[in-house]
């Protein structure tokens, strides 16, 4: 299809999902989803509230494991490796597939410690100077360095909402993940903070694969290469963002985009 117009044919598949079903107790939230996520693309998940976007997103780094009643079936692979395989260490997976949450959630520690925690945890920096470098480069890449370089020892919780969210992004990229999952990262932010983060996403794309859930259609259109439309636990449509928004193949997608529901 017209996907090749945006994604060159050589694009490598980063993650694959095959027949993924998710149950919360007896209640099925995801009804068999197949999806390929390409390397270095930004893919947006859209859809009405409760359609399973967050649920599916959480499957990609097994954050669903922390929900007792949640059960996942089917296959999800990262670089061809099954991430639900018993031999796979979930800690390693989460270092490879990082996550940024809807509400900024910095640790109630200093800005420095917020960034340094991940690298320390995974033994990525042994010396203090290495750690300093990681902290600085992560903050730079998150576009926060200039604002906080003089107050690294102050609490991360003392920053503004937008700064906190960028701190969380910096914290995530400090462990050098390959994929970053973002669940409505801008929903708690004002338009200016939002646009800063959108620019950031465009930049991060060069180094990371980004999966972003958003309720903001314009945002999906602005930042993503491809867009996936979810409805009632099903993947209805997945295509190049421009196509999905201008020329949806499915009636339900069209209804949603034109604001007939959701």
């Amino acid at each position: 299809m017209s996907e090749s117009t945006v994604l060159n044919d050589a694009a490598k598949v980063k993650m694959t999902a095959r027949d993924v079903k998710v149950f919360y107790g007896t209640n099925q939230a995801i009804h068999g989803i197949d999806m390929d996520i390409m390397e270095n693309e930004v893919i947006a998940f859209i859809g009405p509230s409760g359609c399973g976007k967050s649920t599916f997103l959480r499957c990609l780094n097994r954050m669903n494991d922390t929900i007792d009643i949640c059960r996942v079936t089917g296959q999800i692979a990262l670089d061809g490796q099954d991430i639900y395989h018993p031999s796979l260490d979930v800690v390693q997976l989460r270092a490879q597939v990082g996550m940024v949450f809807q509400k900024p959630n910095p640790f109630p520690k200093s800005i420095y410690d917020n960034i340094a925690y991940g690298p320390k945890l995974h033994g990525l920096a042994s010396k203090k100077s290495d750690l300093d470098d990681v902290v600085e480069s992560s903050l730079r890449r998150a576009g926060l360095w200039e604002e906080v370089k003089d107050r690294l020892n102050q609490p991360g919780t003392g920053l503004s909402g937008g700064q906190q969210q960028r701190l969380c992004i910096a914290r995530t990229i400090a462990v050098s993940p390959e994929v970053i999952l973002m669940d409505e990262p801008c929903s708690a932010l004002d338009p200016i903070a939002t646009s800063i983060i959108e620019e950031l996403i465009a930049e991060l794309k060069q180094n990371f694969t980004i999966v972003i859930v958003t309720h903001n259609m314009q945002q999906a259109a602005r930042v993503s290469d491809r867009t996936a439309f979810f409805h009632l636990g099903n993947l209805i449509e997945l295509g190049v963002t421009n196509d999905v928004f201008t020329n949806p193949t499915q009636k339900r997608t069209e209804d949603y985009i034109t604001g007939r529901y959701g």
Binding site: D68, F101, L121
Partner: protein, 456 residues
Amino acid sequence: MTTEVKNLKGNAATRSKVQQQVVNSLQKRHRQEKLFRGAGVAAVSISILLVVLLFVNIFSKGLPAFWQHAIKLDIYFDPAVVKIAEKPVQQAGESDNEFRQRDLEWRSAVGMINFNRLIVDGLQKVIPDANEHRRDLQRIVTSGERFAIRDLVIKDPSIIGSTQSLFLLTDANIDVWLKGNIDRSLGDAQQQLSPKVREWVESLKAQGVIQNRFSFALFMNPDSRSSLASAGLAGAFMGSLYMMLVVIVLAIPMGVAAAIYLEEFAPKNKLTDLVEVNINNLAAVPSIVFGLLGASIFIGWFNLPMSAPVVGGLVLTLMTLPTVIIATRSTLKAIPPSIRQAALGLGASKSQAVFHHVLPLAIPGILTGSIIGVAQALGESAPLLLIGMKSFVASIPSSAMEQSTALPVQIYLWQGNELRNFFEARTSAAIIVLLALMLSLNSLAIWLRKRYEVRW
């Protein structure tokens, strides 16, 4: 046009009607609010009043007991009376056991000496007509003081032959008389003190030989029944202290660990639900039941000694455990889940998320809950009655396995003493000591909370 104007007018009319209704309901609401506020202020005032009354009552009764009448006597350690061998020292080649045996023999020999003779001799120097009233003379210094003099000799035999100026506690009845805690108009038959003794102590007090001095006995001595004036809190205090140690060492780590496990790690299933319900029930069990449990388990099965602080501590641990667990769990529940997710999302394991992020945030709450639990245990008496800690113990326990009582139980025991006039004040003094301990524990809790909370 005209219809529109009419409509507007109509709207205005209905609007003002609505406004009127709102105003009416507003008055009612204000009235209710005032009523509620009044009730609240009244409730708070009444409770403050009650607390103030309680404190005024306890302090006015108890404070005088911190001072006690003592008589200043020149005690001549007459070598003719205090006839003892040299204090034994450990010889080369003598085993510890042999030496201890000799030392014990020497001590009991010292104990046989009639130290009362020294006191009577001392009294004769300050009371001119002492010899005509030998019986009355025996009533002045409380009997426990002869042991205090004995201990002076044991500590330093070189004082034999010298004269020491000592303050000796007077009999409890003299203290009562001089403090005016007894009706002086009562006839001789109803008075505990003979007319002669009353005459003596009045004049000795006037001369400054008998003085009302700060009573170290209250803090340094164990309880006493033969010498009421020397009855002190030291035994009960040490008993309580040992129990607190047991509670702190057992209940806090166990409770916190259990709470962390249940809250953060345990799967949510029927079994853990059952455990949760039972912990909550345990917290509501009357404390005396824990006493029964302790008596049958720790004393009956494990054969731990009766009346020992270690058993008391174990019983109080059982009682405190649910408090600590519940307090810790609610603290952990209050930590936002986003912190756990943030840590997990970065690749921390579950226990790393808990120990690196959740627990540090929970520490102030855990400490507060634990200290309040310990303070509760400190004030508990009912379960201790059932494991024999209400028996009279005339020594200060030197380990948690020795017989002792506890501060709240001591209060109960003193409250029941027949010499009401003397022990009413002493009971209140003991309450003040207990309250002071409680208050310092609670202030510690507040201080710790503040201290750790400033770390944002």
